[in-house]
Symmetry: C2
Subunit: 760 residues, 2 copies
């Protein structure tokens, strides 16, 4: 393409533009919509475009006293002149591919150049505006995408200035997604000619998203000036997508492929269960919707630390700034004393989908002393609050939350998704309540039930501690015996809730270290229950304490060193399965999973004993309880040796969190100390605990799948862990041909949508 062709009319005053393929490629930003609307025959103000390369050459030509290109440019400007032959006043606009705060605002009312040289002379109004427009693209490090662009192909638009009144509106309502002109900034819209509806339908179909639209209305005639996409709420976007299918603008498949799964995730907020009877202790501005309850923290590091331990927290600060973004991502909710809808806290909370209450005037925070006051009350780190980002309420303590419902537009979209999805979506839950939530979100089974969560009650914890601190096998067995009955009931309820869907129970996994008594009170209680002296218990605790518990005495290592735990867990699980099978028509599908293995011998050791227990329970050939045996693959060595392991198991499931920790040598608990600096300094593009590291962890998973399938073609393969709810990671897993993924209940819809997108 010659540079002469890089100055061209996209909406000529007379006739239609007839663009070459190369010219069409130059249409970024507003230029694209102006061309498309004009090309569809809708009245549009005349517009021409010029690239930076062409503009630079026009300038260079001036130095050489050449006029060849200038002649083209002047001819091009004449395309803005209507059939009346009167040169219009001009408007110069940028047309960047992404919104950018540093861009030059439109320059209006520029006189048409009198002489050809005025059209290129930077001291004259038109050329000056064009020059400044190009210069404003300079802040390339401030674009939202961060992508490096081909600067020479950047374009600037010159438009004829429309007469009449300029009007701005949205093509769809920003909150409901309903089609039709909607106010952009809250101020009511004037009545507009009916042709506005045709323009909106046209733009909505072409763009497939909410657009902010600029038109001129002159004597009942509406002319299109420009448009740019805007981000609506996730709900509005979703409703709009379903509406386009109803209007036959999109097929269901294109709706599925065009809804952003990350945005869908933002809709799945919990709400307060019954706020009616409870009085808030403060009210601020609800600047990001959803309710959150958690432990008070006063700085981003503590938020990250609690998040890493799976705990919910509310970040309480006077206001937030760029250094707090990581901590905001880590917090479950955000509460600020200052700021409003457009504050840093509000903007980031909405982007990250965190409930946020801002501008609570009765709140003051002393971050150094780690204390805050709300009205008369003083709160310290560790106390609990509940916030409702929908109405700005702040409540004392932890209020019960209710989960979002799948219905309406979400239900329709996910229904369409399921039709084009081949990988199952399961969920990671242990309780009947969470199982029901996950089922309502479309979970097709439980991919990870962390059996240790069944010990989280005072009574059971006492028995568990007695077991850990027993000096011999007999004492351990006695301590464990009391736990079988409790657990049997838990398993039976969980299996019943899942109504014949598969349930993967992971054997006791965490370091025993985590269950040791810590406070003086706990130690005294435990000593009494064991009948030993407090001092002796303290000595023993010191000896058991681990330096790196994540890599310590946990997972399969517990089953091998303390086979009584394996025995107790399997006994309870099988009794629970049998009980559930007697109250339902469907058989109970139990998948037992061994965690944290690194060698095939560990798997065979456990398998031999587990199968003997199943055999003894008379369930090895049962039609009512279908038992299968598998292992988690969550250590680099296990990935490399999956070929040895595969022939001994029915399934494997990748635990991508521990696999990321060991592959990178990063303890997620401790990562906050350097992760923020790593992202700030560009060492990590993305947090590898959020989006799977394809180049390292991903290769290990690929090796494991290839070796596992080669050794056992019937091997069922799953992914469990938080990555299974992350769209980017799901795309990678989908390409590996896994059989299922398993994520937290809230993420089930995200996985259903993403897996449908990746299989189309």
């Amino acid at each position: 393409m010659s540079l002469a062709q890089e100055m061209f009319a996209i909406a000529p005053a007379m006739a239609k533009a007839n663009l070459s393929a190369s010219q069409l490629k130059l249409l970024t930003g507003k230029a694209r919509w102006i061309f498309r609307v004009a090309d569809a025959g809708f009245p549009t103000v005349p517009t021409i475009a010029i690239t930076r390369a062409a503009w630079d050459e026009l300038q260079a030509e001036r130095g050489r006293k050449d006029k060849r290109l200038r002649t083209h440019w002047v001819a091009c400007l004449f395309k803005l002149v209507d059939k009346d032959g009167v040169p219009p006043k001009l408007v110069v606009r940028t047309s960047a591919s992404a919104h950018n705060g540093g861009l030059m605002p439109a320059r209006i009312g520029i006189p048409a150049p009198d002489l050809p040289e005025d059209a290129v002379d930077p001291n004259r109004p038109l050329a000056r505006a064009i020059k400044q427009a190009f210069e404003s693209y300079g802040f390339s490090d401030r674009t939202w995408t961060g992508r490096e662009e081909d600067r020479s192909r950047q374009i600037v638009l010159v438009q004829a200035m429309a007469g009449g009144d300029d009007e701005q509106f949205l093509t769809r309502n920003a909150t409901t997604g309903a089609l039709g002109p909607a106010p952009l900034d809250g101020s009511p819209l004037p009545r507009m000619p009916d042709s506005v509806n045709a323009l909106i339908a046209l733009l909505d179909a072409k763009a497939g998203r909410h657009m902010a639209c600029l038109v001129s209305v002159e004597k009942g005639t509406l002319r299109f000036i420009s448009a740019r996409p805007v981000q609506a709420t996730p709900g509005a976007e979703l409703n709009a997508a379903v509406d386009r299918v109803d209007r036959k603008v999109w097929t269901p498949q294109s709706a599925v492929s065009r809804v952003d799964a990350n945005r869908l995730a933002l809709m799945l907020h919990p709400r307060l269960k019954s706020p009616e009877g409870v009085a808030p202790i403060a009210v601020g501005l609800g600047v990001s919707p959803g309710a959150a309850t958690g432990i008070i923290v006063f700085n981003p590091e503590d938020a990250a630390r609690l998040r890493a331990r799976g705990q919910h927290c509310i970040l309480v600060v006077n206001e937030t700034g760029p250094a707090d973004i990581e901590g905001m991502r880590a917090a479950t909710g955000i509460l600020t004393a200052r700021g409003g809808m457009s504050s840093h806290a509000g903007v980031i909370a909405r982007i990250t989908g965190k409930p946020c209450v801002a501008g609570v005037r009765t709140l003051s925070v002393d971050a150094v002393e780690m204390v805050c006051r709300i009205g008369d009350r003083e709160f310290r780190a560790g106390e609990r609050l509940t916030i409702d980002g929908t109405d700005g309420s702040v409540y004392l303590g932890s209020l019960p939350l209710t989960q979002p419902q799948i219905g309406g537009s979400i239900g329709k979209l996910l229904g369409w998704s399921d039709a084009s999805r081949s990988i199952s979506v399961r969920t990671n839950v242990e309780t009947v309540d969470s199982a029901r939530t996950a089922l309502s979100f479309g979970a097709e089974g439980i991919g990870l039930a962390r059996s240790e969560h069944m010990f989280f009650s005072t009574e059971r914890m006492v028995a568990l501690r007695r077991m850990i601190l027993s000096e011999d096998e007999d004492a351990r067995s006695r301590a464990l015996a009391g736990l079988v009955d409790y657990q049997t009931g838990d398993y039976s309820a969980l299996f019943s809730a899942m109504k014949g869907l598969p349930v993967t129970v992971r054997l006791f996994d965490p370091p025993l270290h985590e269950f040791l008594p810590r406070t003086d009170e706990e130690i005294e209680e435990t000593a009494a229950s064991l009948g030993v002296a407090v001092r002796a218990l303290r000595l023993r605790l010191e000896r058991i304490a681990e330096i790196n518990p994540m890599l310590g005495h946990r997972g399969v290592r517990l089953a091998i060193t303390y086979p009584e735990i394996l025995q107790m867990q399997m006994q309870a699980m099988l009794a629970g399965a049998r009980a559930a099978s007697e109250t339902q028509n469907e058989p109970v599908i139990v998948e037992m999973m061994v965690p944290f293995v690194s060698t095939a011998t560990e798997v065979s050791w456990v398998r031999e004993r587990a199968m003997a227990i199943v055999e003894n329970a008379g369930l090895s050939r049962s039609e009512r309880v279908k038992f299968s045996f598998g292992t988690m693959i969550e250590l680099p060595r296990a990935c490399l040796r999956t070929g040895d392991i595969a022939h001994m198991v029915d399934f494997i499931s990748f635990g991508t969190n521990d696999l990321t920790q060991t592959t990178f040598g990063i303890s997620r608990d401790d990562a906050p100390a350097f992760l923020a600096a790593y992202q700030r300094k560009g060492v990590y593009e993305r947090d590898p605990f959020v989006s799977l590291d394809v180049k390292g962890v991903g290769e290990l998973i690929q090796i494991a799948i290839q070796r596992g399938r080669a050794a056992n073609p019937k091997l069922k393969i799953g992914i469990c862990g938080e990555h299974a709810g992350d769209p980017a990671s799901l795309q990678f897993f989908s390409g590996l041909g896994v059989d299922y993924v398993s994520c937290s209940p809230y993420r089930v819809p995200v996985a259903r949508l993403t897996l449908a997108q990746t299989s189309t």
Copy 2:
């Protein structure tokens, strides 16, 4: 081979045996030596052999009233009859391939069978003895090798009974290795015919090791009966090997290939530097040579724990048993109240090469209360003792030790080794003293100088703590500035000591967590030095403390988050190199190594800054200080991405300890809780921290080397870490074509020998 051929004379009374290739293969154990001695023409008592398969079929034939095989057997027995035609009394001996406590002792004085049936009738003496001999092989799980053998090929020997006196002796002295008849059990040897020297020379050349020999001496005539190999001290074996070269029985190469590197390691014991002036507090039996100094521990778990942290300890117990073996391996020395040379403690200590003092009568241990008494003194865990396993002395506190010298036989053997070795051997040291020791052992450079060890003094620790606890970069820089001078001196001395050999300095690596003040006193001191309140410091310490420090804020993460540390370390290192270069002819070879990287971006981040510092110091093109830049590969992800890293570095060095920890997901510190059970239950064949796990960790290293070499053919590749001193691991590394290995000073000779063995 027919079963008739599985009964045959190995030393017939008349003429020589003429064995088929299949029969030669059956000659295990003593049979082999009897055949070889007789075959060489030395007078030998007549001997025949029969396999279990042939014997079983002889028995089966009896049931069938068949005689075919019996005829063969009787003919075979006639081979024991001398030319005088008188059937001799018989001896039945086992001939197992490995010594086994359950084997039947020789049955002597068995009358020759009168009738052919008597030769196979288990109620008659000969057949009964043969039957019992085979039955005694039954304890196959008690063989030392643990290897499963082909039972049907097991053999039993029948010998003519020699007249005269039976005499036993060793072919070489068990302690010095000198050739000539030596007493087997301490009792003096009678005078023997001169022909004994010919027999000894013959056996020594054939067997190439110390042999216990049984002969008969009758009227000045010596006849060979049997022999079996015995284990001498490592020193005796080594002297014997060198002596065989001197006698031209072996070539130097065969001496190199036949000395067991694991046994060589046992000779490299430290000794007490100057025990003359110091009085022992107790004296027991020195049952395993060498001196050791360390912290008192009372149980194997604590020994393993301290060992994992790199600390020396003395295991103090009343006596040891099979359950303590892991702990004994972990201890630096062993001290027992009971037992002697043949006690469990003594035997295991000698096998594992640990100094051991046993039978200290004034010692009593209370393992439960964790306290011991030696005479009037009471000692608790954590106090220090020194023991000398050569003379049985026990000393108070830590006495200085001196390292073994390389000289005499070791020097000769290692000299021969170096001639056939292509991989360099370096050492892991930080101090000038250790560097000199390593040089005396033949180290060809330093492969790992852990720079953090230079902070291990009170003064520097205070500065380091001030740095860690600084709230901003300025304060950190000020705290660090004071450290540059100290370090410059350290580096200069270390470079000078190495006289132009390469020195790899690893950047500060350990988790800052490890340097935090812990005791109340330390905390108060630190608070004062920082000018903050003790309470505020405690809060801050709680926030900095790490849950899994091994995977926390350490290694390259420190350099990136606190670039001041990188700056300070490089400044000191370069100044030290410059100073050293001014006092010697050889240039200083500095290799800077970045620890704990997992991404190529980390490497490029540090490289850019490091190279700028080198450039600023004017050393980028220096002929006097040659600087190169490399990285440790010690995380699974780094192995997978070595291809990305290789083009940015001059060298890589595998840190096999951390790589084993992350590949297996095992914290070595915490492994003692399950490692003993794992080895007992057969889950691990070997401790992966002692011998490299070839199938997992090894594959990652292979992948890294292949990708690294493909990306940068000039890449220099090393191995550092304890595996580099382990013979089995060295064999694997040798096959990978690495350029150098680097191990602790003591292990340098082991590496030199092993690498010579693997390259021949």
